[in-house]
Symmetry: C2
Subunit: 224 residues, 2 copies
């Protein structure tokens, strides 16, 4: 039984003993290491990393220990080595393909989103049930396709990740559609709690909640 926290944010598989919190930090470390490597840094200590993120160095060591004993006592971590291990653990050492369902403003923006089209990810399809949109393409040239092409694209391109960018009322139906078509991981932008199926990882991004959290902070910390 997953904790409600994970229930809401990401659910499906907090793999092994690695929690969602740790996973997200691993992703942050990976980004940082890529920058360090580009800057020519060859070795880094957990204390130095901790400084950058305002994190505790023990936490970083614990997080990294999930990948095996990669550190060298008395020295630190080899940047290149650690980066490649992290990339492998996060599964971005190869390219995972993504399709997006919903070609509204958000879906189109996400299809061309830089972070979704580099270093291990690639958007290979954009779908919508509105006939009027079919045939058009995003600026980056991703064509908007009808729903009946969905299954074929997922199968032939070996798509693993589906993004839901449709209005709330349609989200559950689209989710089921994606799962039936073989999608194993879903990133949901619709403001609904999706009924999830066994073995499918689902993460929701609810922008309204983020806004209201900020608004809540504003109601108290009014500096006047």
């Amino acid at each position: 039984m997953p904790s409600p926290l994970k229930e809401r944010r990401t659910s499906g598989a907090a793999r092994d003993g690695v929690s969602e919190f740790t996973t997200e930090r691993l992703s942050i470390y990976l980004r940082c290491l890529a920058q360090l490597e580009a800057a020519g840094v060859t070795t880094i200590s957990s204390a130095k990393l901790a400084e950058r993120f305002h994190l505790n160095s023990a936490q970083i060591r614990k997080d990294l220990a999930c990948l095996g004993e990669l550190g060298i006592r008395g020295v630190g971590y080899r940047v290149a080595d650690l980066r490649s291990h992290l990339a492998q653990a996060l599964g971005v050492d190869r390219t995972r393909k993504i399709i997006i369902f919903g070609a509204g403003n958000l879906g189109i923006a996400l299809a061309d989103h830089r972070g979704f089209n580099i270093d291990g990810f690639e958007v290979v399809g954009l779908f919508d049930d509105d006939d009027a949109k079919h045939g058009r393409s995003t600026r980056n040239g991703i064509p908007i396709q009808p729903v009946d092409r969905l299954e074929a694209v997922i199968a032939s391109e070996r798509v693993e990740i589906g993004i839901i960018a449709v209005p709330a009322p349609a989200a559950q139906e689209v989710c089921d559609l994606l799962v039936d078509a073989g999608i194993a991981a879903i990133l949901n932008f619709a403001p609904v709690q999706l009924r999830q199926r066994e073995g499918v990882a689902v993460t929701s991004v609810d922008l309204r909640i983020n806004l209201e959290s900020l608004s809540f902070a504003l109601t108290s910390v009014r500096k006047d």
Copy 2:
């Protein structure tokens, strides 16, 4: 000293004793109550709410207790009453104005985003430093304005929330610009950790991290 968890997600003010986790759930409850009220339900118990969200009823009661003693023992909560208290606590009983910096695909999509333009929020400005974009408008008619209009709009419209939708290298500069112009809460979509100033609430949405978390789940739960 905030915990790293909050540090990364939302920071600035975990107001009173109310944690970020609780705040996010309050936002979810509010949405649910609006639906219940629309459906004509007048009273609801924590147990019934718990069912909907796969949450523990005690947690819901604890969360709601933050707003005062709103429940009626032996009965439950009055939907309309609770909803209005929640709306007030989250600060959406009045309209908070938003400006977006960065008129790329994402910025434009967010400007027209439904959840950002109803029930307590309104996008009143979209800014970009690219001259070529000025004068154009989003589909919903929000014009793209030059940076030198920023301060005037924030002041005259009493804008409280700023959204950063620019590439990573520009994000910190834009953040400082917004804070200097009087913005008290920031929703950041750039994949960087922003240096934050005292009294400014900052929440970051990092889509790349969400994707990599899903990818991580996929590397293990390969159903074959």
